[in-house]
């Protein structure tokens, strides 16, 4: 077990080191997240209370798209010079490799979620009432997006129609997170969390508890048939 943790640490450190030298993942996610919020602010040109009530939805749409981009980018880098194959040969368990990618993607996704919330507060005049619960919601949502996204991004990295097929496949699967995330966030950017909000949070937690280990488990079965 500690061997796997060690390998995990090595792989994550490698990704972060590369990212620091060549911020292909974080920079593109940053720009994209900002653009999405800005476009929304222009799309809803009159910012009134009604539009403010949509802000939870905006946050989650922006996050969904940004995480989709991020998970793709995290694997793009591995396609050069067959690095992914090299890593697969050199790691004991492909699950560890997958986990490292999913964690890195989630990490950047979470950073972006902070940015998105900040921008939404700025552009739409929304106010955050329960920052800790909001963070919990974002953590659950973003990790869910990124693990499912990482599974299919990693597998489809070499497919020609990846850009189209990837969102087509992952979006419907993560809809429960979007619904629950919006429902919970509505209370956090609004009055405050109540019993109903906890129920939605529990749904997100349950979703993650199923899909995070699920994707990790499934990965090798798919990986071994890579062409």
């Amino acid at each position: 077990m500690s061997r796997h943790l060690r390998t995990l640490r090595i792989l994550i450190a490698k990704d972060l080191k590369i990212e620091m030298r060549n911020p292909g993942v974080s920079y593109t996610m940053l720009l994209f997240a900002t653009l999405v919020v800005v476009v929304f602010s222009y799309a809803f040109f009159m910012i009134d209370d009604r539009v403010r009530s949509y802000t939870p939805g905006l946050v989650w749409v922006a996050l969904l798209f940004t995480c989709t981009l991020g998970t793709s980018r995290v694997f793009d880098r591995e396609q050069h010079k067959g690095c992914f194959n090299g890593l697969l040969l050199a790691t004991e368990s492909p699950r560890t490799l997958f986990l490292s990618k999913a964690i890195v993607a989630s990490f950047f996704g979470l950073l972006m979620s902070g940015l998105v919330v900040l921008l939404v507060v700025l552009f739409f005049g929304a106010s955050v009432h329960e920052p800790l619960w909001l963070m919990a919601t974002l953590v659950l949502g973003v990790t869910g997006f990124c693990f499912i996204g990482a599974l299919f991004a990693g597998l489809m990295a070499q497919l020609s129609l990846r850009e189209v097929l990837f969102p087509l496949i992952t979006f419907p699967l993560v809809i429960p997170l979007v619904i629950a995330g919006v429902k919970t966030t509505t209370q956090l950017i609004g009055p405050g969390i109540d019993a109903d909000g906890f129920a939605w949070l529990k749904l997100m937690l349950a979703f993650d508890l199923v899909f995070l280990p699920g994707t990790v488990r499934v990965f090798p079965y798919l990986e071994k048939d890579r062409g």
Binding site: K14, K17, R77, C83, L89
Partner: protein, 219 residues
């Protein structure tokens, strides 16, 4: 390692073409096995199957005593002793050769000194600390070779190790491969120039119509 690598009944289909047809072969340790054949006959496919990058459709692979059946992936016990050098260098452009080697060293669990030693042997010099993205093709190949040297695998699979190298480069490759052969490892290389590896204990195999045919060699 008396057994080496044994292939039995390897079959691989690519789309609609059957590239490998019940291919069998035996790669003994302490010999340099050169695979020749025209482009597109399946040499790269064969190497990819043997190195576990492609999943085996039918047949068995045997590495010494460990057997791999169709549909199974290569177990770690084999992979860690498998050195692969293909058209891809497996090196990250943003990291230096030293950092790349250090990464693989940690993944394979090897001691620190190996990195420096391997880089010495391929004479990358100060370029070893430059990002691989700045390297010329020859330098990148040397760095990739260093990665394999550092690993010191028992089974070495190379796809055209002499491609794109100048005279000096080729000589170096021959020297390194001969030391592997002398150490009793299994060395398999696809090449278009079998004549250049004179003096090593060679077996030349031709990949024809999806099977391997022995066409010559030493003793």
């Amino acid at each position: 390692m008396p057994e080496g690598i044994r292939l039995k009944g390897l079959t691989q289909t690519f789309g609609r073409r059957r590239i490998l047809r019940g291919l069998s072969g035996h790669f003994e340790p302490g010999r340099l096995h050169l695979i020749v054949g025209p482009n597109g006959c399946g040499k790269t496919t064969l190497l990819r199957v043997m190195s576990g990058q492609l999943s085996l459709e039918a047949g068995t692979l045997q590495f010494h005593e460990e057997c791999v059946e169709a549909g199974q992936s290569l177990p770690w016990s084999i992979r860690r002793r498998l050195g692969v050098l293909g058209h891809d260098s497996f090196l990250y452009s943003e990291l230096s050769a030293r950092e790349n080697l250090d990464l693989y060293r940690k993944l394979y669990g090897l001691p620190k000194e190996r990195v420096g030693e391997a880089l010495e042997r391929v004479s990358l010099g100060s370029a070893a600390d430059q990002p691989v993205g700045c390297y010329s093709q020859g330098m990148e190949q040397r760095a990739a070779f260093a990665r394999v040297l550092m690993q010191d695998p028992d089974y070495l699979i190379l796809d055209e190790p002499d491609a794109g190298l100048d005279e000096a480069g080729r000589t170096r490759v021959e020297e390194e491969l001969s030391s592997f052969v002398r150490d009793g490892k299994v060395v398999i290389a696809v090449t278009h120039h079998p004549e250049s590896f004179q003096g090593l204990n060679r077996q030349i195999l031709r990949l024809e119509k999806g099977v391997l045919v022995s066409v010559g060699g030493d003793q």
